[in-house]
């Protein structure tokens, strides 16, 4: 159970940032491996790319983009908070960075499908 | 049974971590010869208990701009209605100047500034100059937090949640050998031997139904001193603050202070019928001094003109709800947290026991009649006489705490060895403290119930308005309650952090000291400062002023009177130069 003391915007922003970071980091080796196939086994890569035409896979891809975008804007927000002069609307900034990330992912999804 | 007592040694032992205790530790550490072991033992957490932390208004010190040490001294003497020990009062005013610089420059406090960068000082009631240094209305937090940091970061041994239960004299009768403690966390006994001991447990009249001091204070120090045969002076002098919060009997918020500034700013006091009444008692109305307002409220209460919980109202909204909210932010929030609207509505208030002017008889170096025992802060009597000026409380504890630290460090250079304790006294104190476990009496809730009874008795009989009849009847009830306390049985399953046991021990101390307060009140047959006898309403002759001295030499508490020595100034005279105006406050 998520205890009540964690149900506030900045904590949610943190958990999103961390989970997105970890998932991206875990995805990265797969991503690299698949791309290296271009060198070692181009047909396998093509097979993989066809596989990624599947709708489910498109959704998964969108989720990855979502995570990347949310992590990007969240990370920029964090760095702005830490390194630029303080502003008092941290919660709004956190919300905006998540919104912006989602918007990018939507755009991606619409284009892909 | 004394084998159940662990023993440890130190050179300088300090009991209590309020302004007096922490300053003593700091000064001892600074001025003792290298290698001196310094230990501070405290009933709560270091710096997080006691009243110094709760200081709101501020710290009195004469720092120029027309104000002088002489003027501060005269205000203190006149405020104390000519009863203060003049040498102590003088040293207080003089050393406060040094101490405030020390607090700012060495300890690291930051007090509020004027726009030009100089210290801001305001005038508390009863003062003839803008003298009170402060940090907003949370001055105590600033002072204690900074002192605590200094003590924490130095080689000073800390014994936290160690409760002193008895002063143990030397076997050869020559001075103090050490102090018996309960390590509250383990529930076991520890006897700490030391060459010098400072008692700074901070008095605190918590035997009244309504009281302001922190919950850990229960007069343990004065009770221990009394048992050790030391004389206590001015014990009838209990200061009441007129506006304590009244929120019902079951809440610990009841009795806590609503700040003086509310009345100063023009707040109204209303009785149960929502009518102002202060002008019936004094031409200054709500702005009259603490003792007058307290008596007026008490009189209204006795006449039955009360609110639902039996007090009166304070009203602020006529000053503009938003303004009040802004100006008294902390107070408004505090009231709001427990469900009251101070800015817009009515809040019930009641006079509340705030400070004990009385205490152990000491000299101006904090030494007592018992070799090796020193007393400073609210535990020490003399500096305030019959009334303490707002702002002289912290000044007193920090000034004399510091002095104690220096004096102890110097004195122990001549003490060759730790004194051997009187084992029978050790045994006796141990038995006294553990008697709770062998009582015959009843069940859960007994101790709390007896505490309520004690508080009612003290409030009704030994409170704001006193008579011989009421005092005598209180004495009878006190002995009855004491008897019942002795009979209580506290559960003995687990002594670690056994609060009910400590509540019982608190009751022991409170009962002992309540008796002293009552007897001293009987002995003073006039009305001075905080002490008001309806059967003797006159102030009495100033020239022949006396103070009360209570002691127990084994045959019960006896109270004597001693003449005040006017060592610096006589009643009716002043030490201010002739051209000085009576007051510098506009």
């Amino acid at each position: 159970m998520i205890r009540p003391h964690r149900s506030h915007p900045l904590w949610i922003a943190f958990i999103l940032h961390r989970i997105s970071g970890v998932v991206l980091a875990l995805f990265l080796p797969i991503h690299f491996y698949v791309l290296s196939l271009a060198l070692t086994d181009p047909t396998a890569l093509d097979g993989f790319l066809r596989f990624s035409d599947l709708f489910v896979v498109k959704i998964l891809e969108t989720v990855l983009v979502l995570l990347l975008a949310v992590h990007l804007f969240g990370g920029l927000r964090l760095m702005a908070m830490e390194l630029l002069p303080w502003t008092n609307w941290q919660k709004s900034l956190a919300a905006s960075s998540i919104a912006l990330g989602s918007a990018v992912a939507c755009l991606f999804f619409l284009k892909v499908v | 049974m004394t084998s159940a007592i662990e023993e440890r040694d130190t050179d300088i032992l300090i009991i209590g971590s309020g302004g007096a205790g922490l300053f003593a530790a700091l000064h001892a550490q600074q001025s003792a010869s290298p290698g001196t072991r310094i230990t501070i033992a405290v009933k709560g957490l270091l710096g997080k208990c006691g009243c110094t932390r709760m200081v709101q208004g501020g710290y009195n010190v004469a720092l120029g701009n027309g104000d002088t040490v002489e003027r501060h001294f005269m205000d203190t003497i006149e405020g104390g209605k000519w009863l203060p020990d003049q040498d102590m009062a003088w040293r207080l005013c003089e050393q406060a100047v040094v101490r405030i610089h020390e607090l700012e420059n060495e300890v690291g406090c930051f007090f509020d500034r004027n726009a030009d960068g100089s210290l801001h000082q305001k005038a508390f009631a009863g003062q003839t100059a803008d003298r009170t240094v402060h940090k907003g209305d949370l001055t105590g937090i600033e002072i204690i937090s900074r002192l605590m940091e200094q003590v924490m970061s130095r080689p000073i041994e800390q014994l936290q949640e160690y409760r002193a239960v008895g002063l143990i004299p030397a076997a050869d009768g020559d001075g103090l050998a050490g102090v018996l403690f309960i390590d509250m966390r383990r529930g076991s006994f520890v006897f700490v031997r030391a060459k010098a001991v400072l008692m700074a447990t901070g008095g605190g009249p918590t035997m009244y139904k309504y009281h302001t001091p922190s919950g850990d204070k229960s007069m343990d120090g004065l009770a221990m001193a009394l048992r050790a045969g030391l004389p206590l002076r001015d014990m009838e002098m209990v200061q009441f603050h007129p506006t304590g919060l009244l929120a019902g009997e079951h809440t610990r918020m009841t009795g806590t202070v609503l700040e003086e500034g509310l009345r100063g700013a023009g707040g109204w006091l209303l009785n149960g019928a929502e009518q102002r009444f202060m002008f019936d008692y004094d031409e200054k109305g709500e702005r009259a001094t603490r003792d007058i307002v307290s008596r007026a409220i008490y009189a209204e209460m006795r006449a039955g003109n009360t609110t639902a919980h039996g007090g009166v109202y304070i009203a602020m909204s006529h000053l503009g709800v938003e303004d009040v909210r802004k100006r008294f932010k902390g107070m408004v929030k505090r009231c709001e947290d427990c469900g009251f609207d101070l800015a817009g509505g009515l809040v019930e208030v009641v006079p509340t026991a705030h400070y004990l002017m009385g205490g152990v008889v000491v000299d101006i170096d904090t030494r007592t009649a018992l070799d090796g025992l020193y007393v400073a802060g609210e535990d020490a009597g003399g500096a305030h006489g019959s009334n303490r000026l707002g702002g002289n409380g912290v000044a007193n504890s920090t000034v004399y705490g510091g002095i104690a630290g220096d004096v102890m460090a110097a004195d122990i250079r001549n003490v060759k060895a730790l004194r051997a304790p009187d084992r029978s006294m050790l045994e006796q104190e141990y038995q006294r403290a553990t008697a709770a476990f062998s009582g015959t009496g009843a069940s859960v809730g007994e101790v709390a119930e007896l505490r309520n009874q004690l508080q009612e008795v003290m409030w009704d009989g030994v409170g704001v308005l006193r008579t011989a009849e009421g005092l005598n009847s209180a004495l009878r009830s006190l002995s009855d309650i004491t008897q019942q306390v002795n009979d209580v049985k506290v559960p003995d399953g687990n002594r670690a952090f056994n609060l009910t046991w400590h509540d019982w021990l608190n009751m022991q101390s409170l009962c002992e000291v309540s008796e002293v307060i009552t007897k001293a009140s009987l002995a003073r047959e006039n009305s001075r400062g905080a002490h008001y006898r309806e059967d003797f309403p006159d102030v009495g002759d100033l020239e022949t002023s006396y103070f009360t001295v209570a002691s127990d030499n084994g045959s019960g508490v006896q109270v004597a009177r001693e003449p005040v020595k006017f060592s610096i100034v006589r009643p009716g005279e002043t030490i201010l130069p002739a051209h000085e105006p009576a007051s510098l406050v506009g």
Binding site: L28, L35, S36, L49, K111 | -
Partner: protein, 110 residues
């Protein structure tokens, strides 16, 4: 767990990546339309020094960044001891760097 150097490296690598990620996402949005083929990818990237630099830099930055990130997560969430998580972090860094560089060469060289 984190000292100035690791902290700064994580921030610095993040700053380097920020524009690269924007570029990468943009490319994907444009490129992915109608599906991808190996030929398509390779025709864009192969032989291009710019893409090589772009992805090369990306890989270096992400290896540093993710290695530091995972080090903290391992320590805080998985209870991995300080020393071990430092070692793990280095392994992650080297592993990602090798895998990543191979991928970059795969799509830009030959």
């Amino acid at each position: 767990m984190l000292n100035v150097r690791l902290y700064m490296l994580q921030r610095l690598s993040a700053l380097v990546m920020a524009p690269l990620v924007v570029g990468h996402i943009a490319v994907m949005i444009v490129a992915v339309q109608g599906g991808l083929t190996t030929a398509e990818i390779l025709s864009r990237t192969q032989g291009s020094l710019w893409w090589m630099l772009f992805y090369g830099l990306f890989v270096i930055a992400v290896s540093v960044h993710a290695a530091i990130g995972l080090r903290v997560v391992a320590y805080e969430w998985l209870g991995v001891k300080q020393k071990l998580s430092a070692l793990l972090s280095i392994i992650v860094f080297i592993g990602l760097l090798i895998l990543g560089m191979r991928a970059v060469f795969a799509v830009t060289l030959s």
